[in-house]
């Protein structure tokens, strides 16, 4: 029995030992922002052309799409390197039949593995759901709903310079007031290059209640206290986001008031 255990143990200890020694030192991962930014649009473009073919859209070719991506791993304080399920890819492309939203891109969730392959799932508003109806009406799998790709671990690693603005969004779904009419609004700042800042103009439908400046890091939420109490008669309050950096929602957001 000793003979069985000792060699196995020695080998395991050796592997774990080398592994932790390396972990203590510095290893640079082949999974980098630049390689993902080069690889993701290539895979997406090929598959989007497949989708256009299924849908019967004409005029969509690999050359016409001009897909560009910006990739980011979890917020501004984390280095954009290494495998993980916390990568986000912002991508823009030119298809006259599917215009980009005002912020100019769609957001892809990426799960990047240490073997230099990734799984991306697309923004369903732009790329559609798991199945689509092809031009003859059959239900088929949507090639860009979710897709796999791999990149060269020794491939070009110079920065692509692709950047997109963060999207500011109102994450509150109702406005809950306290006894004095005070309330707090939640703003979210999405993945992007420079975070979010600007002003939110608050109106109760008729008159302006005030303005709230905001500033948030990318991939974070922030709470803003309303500058004035919500009038007791107001049923709804409207917020208009006017961004200085980053992009705002496509129009004013109206929230129902809930008395606390």
């Amino acid at each position: 029995m000793r003979r069985i255990i000792i060699p196995v143990l020695v080998a395991l200890v050796a592997i774990i030992g080398i592994g932790s020694a390396v972990m203590a030192g510095s290893g640079t991962s082949s999974v980098t922002r630049a390689r993902l930014e080069r690889s993701l649009p290539v895979s997406f473009t090929h598959l989007y052309v497949q989708q256009a073919h299924l849908l019967g859209h004409t005029g969509v070719t690999v050359a016409s799409l001009h897909a560009k991506a910006m990739c980011d791993k979890r917020g501004p304080d984390v280095a954009d390197v290494g495998p993980g399920g916390d990568w986000v890819g912002l991508m823009s492309w030119d298809d006259p039949q599917v215009p980009m939203p005002p912020e100019g891109y769609g957001k892809f969730e990426l799960n990047v593995h240490s073997n230099d392959c990734f799984t991306a799932s697309g923004p369903t508003k732009l790329t559609g759901y798991l199945t689509i109806n092809d031009k003859s009406g059959r239900e088929v799998t949507n090639p860009v709903f979710e897709f796999d790709g791999c990149f060269d671990p020794q491939g070009d690693n110079t920065a692509t310079g692709h950047e997109f603005p963060s999207l500011t969004s109102v994450t509150s779904t109702t406005l809950t007031t306290d006894a004095d009419g005070g309330a707090v609004l939640q703003l979210g700042c999405g993945t992007g290059s420079q975070g979010c800042s600007g002003t939110v103009v608050v109106t109760d439908g008729k008159r302006v209640l005030g303005q709230m400046p905001y500033s948030a890091k990318e991939e974070s939420t922030t709470s803003l206290t309303l500058p004035a109490p919500v009038p007791a008669t107001a049923k709804e309050v409207t917020f208009e986001v006017r961004p200085d950096t980053g992009a705002g929602p496509s129009g004013p957001v109206t929230l129902p008031v809930q008395r606390g």
């Binding site: 196995v8 290539v42 240490s114 073997n115 791999c150 060269d152 020794q154």
Partner: protein
């Protein structure tokens, strides 16, 4: 040299004869030949594809994708196990049966026996892999079909190119498979126990796979035997890349030389007289 050759050849002939008589070696080869058929039939009948493995999402209705899905699965532990069943036993079985003294009292040297046994294990690995690959590719091609394949850059690969790329991908399994054979030989000589020779390479393969999947150990990852099992990805992208294949060849060569060298030294220095 000329005096040594007949010794190795006759030792090799003897080893092959022992292998042919071995029940489990035949079972492994038969399994490599037949097992892919029901696996292909079952995955082909799935309504929900196994998406968490590369090519899994296309596997139920694309023969090439299915052959690559089986490839990804086989490389996790099946190939190390199948190869170790012979390579991990070829030396240790002499211990198990107490036959070292009998073998070495013949006119063959330890070196000649080492070469013959190593060649037997290596040859078995090649035959096993070839059978498994041919059977998987043929059954997925015939049962599921030969539709154009969507590659790892989203590109569409025509049937003819896809067939040769799938065959090439299976061929890239050979270096790491031989690396595992060498590792099994080392463990077999070292432990003098067939159970260790067969089970330990599988366990080590799983551990290496786990270490390779961790983030933060990137410097060690290229040195693992299991990393070479994934080098075929580069053949199915656009443009293709072969850097990991070349690195994998060097790494597997390194593992094989070190393992066989250590095994040879251990065997040479062993005191056999005690039985």
């Amino acid at each position: 040299m000329s005096a040594a050759r007949p010794g190795v050849v006759s030792a090799l002939r003897w080893e092959l004869r022992k292998l042919r008589a071995q029940h489990r070696a035949r079972v492994v080869l038969l399994a490599a030949l037949l097992a892919p058929v029901p696996i292909v039939v079952i995955i082909h009948g799935q309504s929900r594809p196994p998406k968490d493995t590369l090519f899994g999402r296309f596997a139920p209705d694309n023969g090439f994708a299915l052959a690559l899905l089986v490839l990804g699965f086989a490389s996790q532990w099946v190939l190390p196990l199948l190869v170790a069943i012979v390579a991990g036993d070829v030396f240790a079985s002499e211990d198990q049966h107490g036959t070292w003294k009998t073998v070495l009292t013949r006119s063959t040297s330890r070196g000649q026996i080492f070469v013959a046994k190593t060649l037997t294990a290596g040859g078995f690995a090649v035959v096993m892999l070839a059978l498994l690959a041919a059977s998987t590719i043929a059954s997925s091609y015939l049962i599921v079909g030969h539709q154009p394949l969507t590659g790892l850059s989203g590109q569409v690969i025509g049937s003819h190119t896809a067939l040769s790329l799938v065959a090439a991908s299976w061929a890239t399994m050979l270096p790491p498979t031989l690396g595992f054979a060498a590792l099994a030989i080392l463990l077999s000589v070292w432990s003098r126990n067939p159970a260790v020779g067969i089970a330990a390479p599988v366990v080590l393969g799983l551990v290496m796979g786990l270490v390779g999947a961790l983030g933060g150990v990137e410097a060690i990852r290229p040195l693992l035997l299991t990393t070479s099992f994934e080098a075929w990805h580069g053949l199915l992208t656009q443009p293709r890349f072969t850097g990991p294949l070349v690195d994998g060849l060097l790494v597997c060569g390194g593992w094989s030389i070190l393992s066989l060298g250590a095994a040879y030294v251990l065997l040479r220095r062993r005191d056999i007289t005690g039985g």
